[in-house]
Amino acid sequence: MNMKKIIKPVLSILLALLVGAIVIAVVGENPLDIYRSMLVGAFGSKSAVAGTLVKTTTMIFVGLSYGFAYKCGLVNIGIEGQLYMGGLLSALAAIYVELPAPIHIPLCLIAGFAGGAIWGAIAGWLKNRFNASEMITTVMMNYIATYFVAFMVNGPIKEKDGTYPQSERILDSARFPTLVPGTQLTIGILIAIIAVVLYIIYWKKTAGGFEMSVVGSSERVAAYAGIPVKRMIITSMLISGGLGGLAGAAEVLGVQFKIMDGLSSGYGFDGIAVSLLGNNSGIGIMLSSLLFGALRYGGNAIQMFTSLPIAVIYILQALVILFVVVDVFRMERRK
């Protein structure tokens, strides 16, 4: 069983690369060349590794976010929106509150977590109160969140000088300290790893984690065992949303240093694939985050430095995701 857990994701990745190679060959390029430049783009230099790890940071948060809800039997497709709301609140705290760095950064992180958590909890409440499917409500709330942020950066929090719709830059005291000088790598990756550790401890060692996974297996059994299902659902959406919010906070505090329209380029949806490929386990999510981080960053490199048509790169990224989903179909049937 344990072997299967490892073999399946590896198999999906290999299959994706294989089919991807065929697509590249059909276009008339050498697949090995393309894969090599992708690898070099993702890990070939100090700044490439740093860039990959920066993307990995975001992937870890969104992956944990999806995984947390999934383990409680919930499908949170609203990570994108939670990311935006978290980014917004943490940006507000980072721009308008003046504090020394050791207090300011944690405050901004809490604000980011809260932003996402509120957004997630609303979906949880709607499910409990009106039996509204969280799959639908979270998707719809993505739009509200992204457009709300667009409204904010076009109006109330738009920077004073300059004409581009974005907020003021965050205060220096709120910026994540850089780990490797001259690169974008910040302590964000460490915070993400801490989150992974807490995630593992929660699901493996605590009573709450156990009860929540019972709810995830079967709500009826959980209710029969006296577990407060509704409270579990709302807690799960709260934390799942909060993790999504942290992804936004990490982007604002560690990468962009401001909030603007287009803070995320679909990261929230990557979280689904990251978590599924990682089998929702902490370690698995961390490893698949690294893969998706490399895909994202190395993908940029392919687009910049080879003559491969843009569409092929999208196909490549989609194939990896597709084969992960195919794998899921199989696992669902086995149960």
């Binding site: 700044s47 920066v54 998707v139 581009y164 974008q184 679909g266 989903v325």
Partner: protein, 344 residues
């Protein structure tokens, strides 16, 4: 079981959505050799990259820069570009090009200012050049600003000479400095001709809503304007819709590129603004070691701002009037006429 299948299906849809997400975050490339590692000993030792916020074939802002890059390529430089780059990837892409030893990296638009300023100190050997901006940062961030005020000025001169009703108009998009400069220039141009012509101006507030520009143009026509100009990017196309239905004798003046095709027979001329040309000039300056950290302003003198052909509206203006327009442009180029601007 059924529910599980449903869940899986919905997740597939969501993932498909995520692929679209990836898609819009992407970029593409046109590398000369396809192998960035090889150092050819040809004239193309200087590598130029262009980062676009939109599609390279958008028939507007982005395409203008892309065409400029093609010109740079024809001049013998090695080029690459990334299109549809999302705000979250600006810095990443800048760093990527700089890591690969690109000498000049263009960020096409004001939105790239912050990214250039924060990336530049790490890459002293790369010149970051932002278009439509006035920033500079020692030693390696410069900007290119086209003198829209001169562009507006010529349009104003042409309009004032061509009008029969004594009323002309100009419509701007978003009320930002670059567009304000165009409108200010237009008013100054009309005043310069000094024949009692009234200039009406308005802003519609965005660059995408062509209907608003059309409505505004119709309102101006109702007020007696017979020559109308615009500077509103895509939205400006609404002007030509309005002119199509207007009574005889009403003409449009296009902007940025020669917009004659938008409404043949009713487009007097266009006040052109060739950002691509400005980019090519900047790269040549880099090659000769003259590109430094400052804001470069390009106007009529550099051949970046100009006037398009009159096509079949040639008889609207007399030859003396055309000569007057050419003389005025020469005077602006030589500095004899200074045009006020909303930009620093």
């Amino acid at each position: 079981m059924k529910k599980k299948t449903l869940i899986a299906l919905i997740m597939t849809l969501a993932l498909a959505g995520s692929c679209i997400g990836c898609g819009s975050g992407g970029s593409s490339s046109a590398s000369d050799s396809g192998d960035s590692g090889s150092s050819s000993a040809s004239a193309s030792d200087i590598k130029v990259a262009l980062v676009l916020p939109g599609s390279a074939n958008d028939k507007g802002w982005n395409q203008e820069a892309y065409d400029g890059l093609q010109e740079i390529k024809e001049n013998g430089y090695e080029t690459a570009y990334s299109e549809n780059v999302e705000a979250s990837d600006y810095e990443t892409i800048f760093r990527g090009y700089a890591d690969q030893g690109y000498n000049v990296v263009f960020g096409h638009g004001t939105e790239f200012e912050d990214a250039a300023e924060s990336v530049a100190p790490d890459y002293p050997d790369t010149m970051f050049c932002i278009t439509s901006s006035d920033i500079s940062q020692e030693p390696n961030v410069c900007s290119l600003q086209n003198l829209n005020n001169e562009q507006g000025f010529i349009a104003g001169v042409v309009a004032a000479l061509a009008t029969k009703s004594g009323t002309v108009a100009a419509i701007g998009g978003m009320e930002i400095p670059s567009i304000q400069s165009y409108i200010m220039g237009f008013e100054q141009g009309v005043d310069y001709v000094d024949n009692g012509t009234t200039a009406l101006t308005a802003y519609t507030g965005d660059f995408s809503d062509a209907t608003k520009v059309m409505e505004q143009a119709k309102a101006f026509i109702d007020q007696g304007a017979d020559i109308i100009s615009q500077d509103a990017d895509e939205a400006g196309l609404g002007l030509f819709e309005a002119v199509k239905d207007a009574p005889e004798g009403v003409y449009a003046i296009g902007s940025v590129t020669d917009q004659y095709e938008e409404c043949p027979g009713r487009v007097l001329t266009s006040a052109t603004n060739n950002i691509g040309e400005a980019m090519a000039v900047a790269v040549d300056q880099y090659a000769s070691g003259d590109l430094t950290a400052q804001c470069y302003k390009y106007g009529i003198a550099e051949g970046v701002i100009g006037l398009a052909d009159y096509h079949d509206c040639s008889d609207v203006l007399t030859d003396e009037q055309k000569d007057f327009i050419n003389e005025t442009m020469d005077k602006i180029a030589s500095g004899e006429i200074t045009v006020e601007s909303a930009q620093q």
